[in-house]
Symmetry: D2
Subunit: 362 residues, 4 copies
């Protein structure tokens, strides 16, 4: 049985979050240490983002119902942050551990059961425990605060489903995103995405996709040489979300096939002529839109029978029952937005713009 | 002018490295804090890896000549590590700052000049200073020590040029990799890669590519929930290397188009039937090969005339002169290997395998 | 108005605690990240230590009544720690903010009001907010878990009131400590301490004292060169408790007047002949009893009229009303024990004894 | 044999130092990460402070001769810091390992030999290796840079020998300090200190003392709640220096015997009427002089025969030969000044004054 010597439940240096809680425990939460004082913050500020992440938005999501109300336990006085740690807590209300009883002995393929067992000698068969996507509710709550920290910069962080089950959005219409349950930015593709997801659901299968995140209005200068590059921290933040298998910035993997003369964005007095860099040069934001794409694998919980083994290593057949999403994609959209906001808030407080916040909020 | 409040020149928690030095300063180096005691370490242990990264290996690399001898300043006594910080230092010998004089006023497109200027109010016109690829020599030196730390695990870390300038290796022959200047694992593609690079050089242009890293023999259990997942730290480590624009693990972006039934690697008593996960589940190594691919942009230093601006924001034309690689790809191969080794050594020391090292090295 | 760039609400590297909450907010709590898995932990484990710190134990303590029940929000499943973050929460029930209204404008001498105002541009007039001694309840709760982590080592951590109001214990009788409200180890001095405190209370004044902490059974080898010496971390932990103004280890300030031949503890096969070092050599535990003494200032909340200024800097007279302890000493005893336990647990997990825990708890 | 899981060779969060090197290795050094850009820094800036710490200043110091020239390896360009890591290196020139050969098997009482052996299974018999006071040369070099960071604040940090061998300075005359080899601030006591030290030397013995540090001009507002109090970080910094056995701030241990009405410094429009707090309230600087006293034990290397054991645990007699100081006190004075400067620079960069530096150095 192993013991982690340096725990890994915190993220960030200046805007530092520590999440806690398990899928089927009492609840989940997050401590934010480093939020500047005097920022207005109320319980209701969390409602919109929590609703976006919440299960049960459509026929394709898990029917698990969570109101996901965020309770502020500390750090706020008379509606303003005080500069002390902000503790946010979300009760688990609808956890049904029963269907998981069958899993006490079997590892679910594609899940963390096997690796947790190898690492810790046990695993939380009740929905994955700490490795459950439920943990991301705490991240979304922290993301709400991160966005408030960023407010003086007038940044827009917009994530959307660029592709799901192979169906790719052609047009990016910001207005469209929140008008469909898939956060698809292309109204013409919504029906095709729906078909694709219904088909997979019917087959007892699941689908993946690609989420694109676009940050507008980020000033030049965020990011620290040499290891804490903005790109490096974005990559870590995004990869720390379950189901993510890849990230690219700007032209990304396509850049590998371009020539320097094609890929170097020419600089003009107004900024950059093109944005193949995706808004980051040398690990530091360049003032242009930051653009990144994230690969999401198909959700591993499927209804089809699967080959697996039990704790003793004996072969077994597994047919899952329970309440699962058919794709992680839509619900991961607000989570990725939150993680990006957290990285930006952290770097914003780490860099020279820290002075701005004082003038504006002071 | 900004001031970074939390500096970013360190990486790792248990095997912690801090690099220092600039491209055209006296030299570069690294402090390794956390290396276990009693590991044999001599100056000559660095020769092979430093040679692999060193410029001047072929007609396509910068003719800048560096012997890149690593000097051990501390942490080793009678040929054994002592458990105290290991300081490694590499003198800069052949830095020619002169050709850069012309750049005192102009930002090189695709480089960090613009963003450093925006962040700090100045930039090191002599080859990028701290943002130069020269800094990676220190990482390669640290990687050598990381590999020694990992030795008890009998891990093999193998990186190679999967693709360069659009030419893709078809076969992966480990024997081939070090037999050609491109670290191409497919002998049949070496000539085509050479052609491609010569063509680009002739045109005064540059090319990018994709590096694949494959880790064999990594035990299950490395990686910490929830933010310090092995995948998350690999992503950060890799993205912190200049010129990297994307990373994917296992099926990566391809997984976005698969169904759960296709992407879930079935578990059998012997391990996993397939390895679309790329050796990592829930952020923790699963005992299978860890596989990742890294997108490298074309080197931004090209001989073609480019559009840019000067420090005052006025439009300008820039035609670079100097000694540049035509592609970053080959020389980045040992750097990525080093970064991967550093991440693994860090997680190895953080997790239960720490006890192994004691038994084996104690 | 300032913004802290690197927040300071966490302590520890391997056993890492982050406290949150304010004196007159909803409650206070702590997240423990890094606690090993499979340690039995129940709500009732906190009762004894929380009771020792709780106000209202005698006529000399603040009559504020807090049940101080610790609620485990996460990290425990079926009565065992899981290795995930343990969130502990204590509701504030009896906070009376009203008497503090008068303090909205005046700085209390000897308190943090003035410095918080200078730093943040505001201060929490309701009992000090975050700077209140109430925050230490979270530390005591974390200390309970730290002690469980240390259990395999069979360490005894014993703190007691060596001196209060100038009355000094002569004999150290471990049995006596918990039999009187002052944690005085010398039964003969209990009445004199009581007289002293009643006299001060009657005068509307307060008194300070010295707490001694004695750790028995700590193995040699805890502490890290060169900055994270065990002595250095103990000093920081102890000094981070409000009202502490000094710490000495072993002979402490007395050692300054000894000669080397007097102060060097001779080494014999059985260990050390004397223990003037206080159990720590070169920052590392030497296997002998660790002994430290902590100076506690008189509590600054007194009923006598005091000279002060208001927020605008105008002179004022202040006569406090409210519920205050007459001395911080007795209630600080369990807090110092907790902090010492936290430091030891942290270093225990950082050092070679980490392997022991696995064998014993695995 | 143990393995430290989280290395302890770094100090600071925003102004972060990592030292390396051993007493009898090639040299010692320090990396400073987080120093703001554009601060003038030359090799000669180190001369004065290095000379103050250097051995061989008087007949009472070790005759080991070190020129202790500080070489700047990185982070400075054209005489200005660049904001990148500053690497400082000091060659060891006069290390004589020979006299230590006899110590290969015996633990020196009062030294770290015994505890290093217990922790690591080996110890550096050549003068203590990493635990040697020689490591403090790197701290003094870092302190020079810290002072430059603090320059905009016009802070004065003054340390002096308040007491040595029982002889206590009565008057504090800043002019006197650097005019005698003991850094004694009271000219009348210099001869008596000299006598005391000569007497001890003759007896083959050693003496300790008390160093007082006084910081003038520190603005209110430095220090972070709740663990990273300015007082807590000062305590850790000071205790991390070998030979230190105690620290007190302001009235310190004396405060334990005062009443609240005596110890509460009344606040007046001009500041504070008295300064028993020693310039720190609630862990945050209050604008008054910061005053701390540090207890230094007698140097453990004495010429008298001592009782000890060998590695196998067998009793032995030890009579040291070599070059030792008779008291650590004078040479520790600049080291403590340096550590205090480092803590202040760190908190200065962490807190609101960060904006000042930009305006002044920008």
């Amino acid at each position: 049985m192993g013991v982690a010597k340096v725990p890994g439940n915190s993220f960030g240096q200046a805007f530092k979050i520590t999440t806690f809680g398990e899928s089927h425990g009492k609840g989940i939460g997050v401590i934010i240490d480093g939020c500047p004082p005097r920022i207005p913050l109320l319980n209701k500020d969390f409602v919109w983002e929590m609703a976006r992440r919440r299960p049960g938005r459509g026929p394709f999501d898990t029917p698990r119902m969570e109101t996901d109300q965020v309770e502020i336990l500390s750090g706020v006085f008379e509606g303003l942050t005080t500069g002390t740690p902000i503790a946010l807590y979300i009760h688990n209300r609808d956890a049904q551990s029963k269907p998981y009883e069958i899993l006490r002995e079997l590892f679910r393929p594609g899940h963390a059961d096997y690796t947790y067992f190898k690492k810790y000698g046990h695993f939380d068969f009740r929905g994955g425990g700490r490795s459950s996507a439920r943990e991301t509710a705490a991240r979304v709550a922290a993301g709400v605060v991160a966005r408030l920290v960023l407010e003086p910069l007038k940044i827009t962080i917009m994530a959307y489903t660029l592709e799901m089950g192979g169906i790719r959005a052609v047009r990016i219409d910001p207005e469209a995103i929140n008008r469909n349950p898939f956060y698809c930015p292309d109204t013409d593709m919504v029906d095709r995405m729906r078909e694709m997801i219904l088909k997979a659901k019917k087959e007892g299968d699941s689908i993946g996709g690609i989420v694109e995140v676009r940050i507008n209005g980020c000033p030049a200068g965020l990011g620290e040489p040499v290891f804490d590059k903005l790109s490096a921290d974005l990559a870590k933040a995004v990869m720390s979300v379950g189901a993510v298998k890849g990230i690219e910035i700007g032209a990304g993997f396509e850049a590998a096939r371009l020539k320097g003369s094609q890929n170097n964005d020419p600089i003009i007095p107004a900024g950059f002529k093109t944005n193949l860099a995706g808004g980051i040069l040398g690990g530091i934001s360049n003032g242009d839109d930051i653009v990144l794409r994230v690969a999401i694998k198909p959700i591993p919980s499927i209804m089809k029978e699967q080959e697996t083994i039990d704790r003793a290593g004996r072969p077994a057949r597994l047919k899952l029952q329970g309440r699962f999403d058919t794709s992680a994609v839509p619900r991961i959209v607000p989570v990725l937005e939150a993680m990006v906001a957290i990285v930006l808030a952290d770097h914003y407080l780490r860099s020279k713009y820290g002075q701005l916040i004082k003038q504006l909020n002071g």
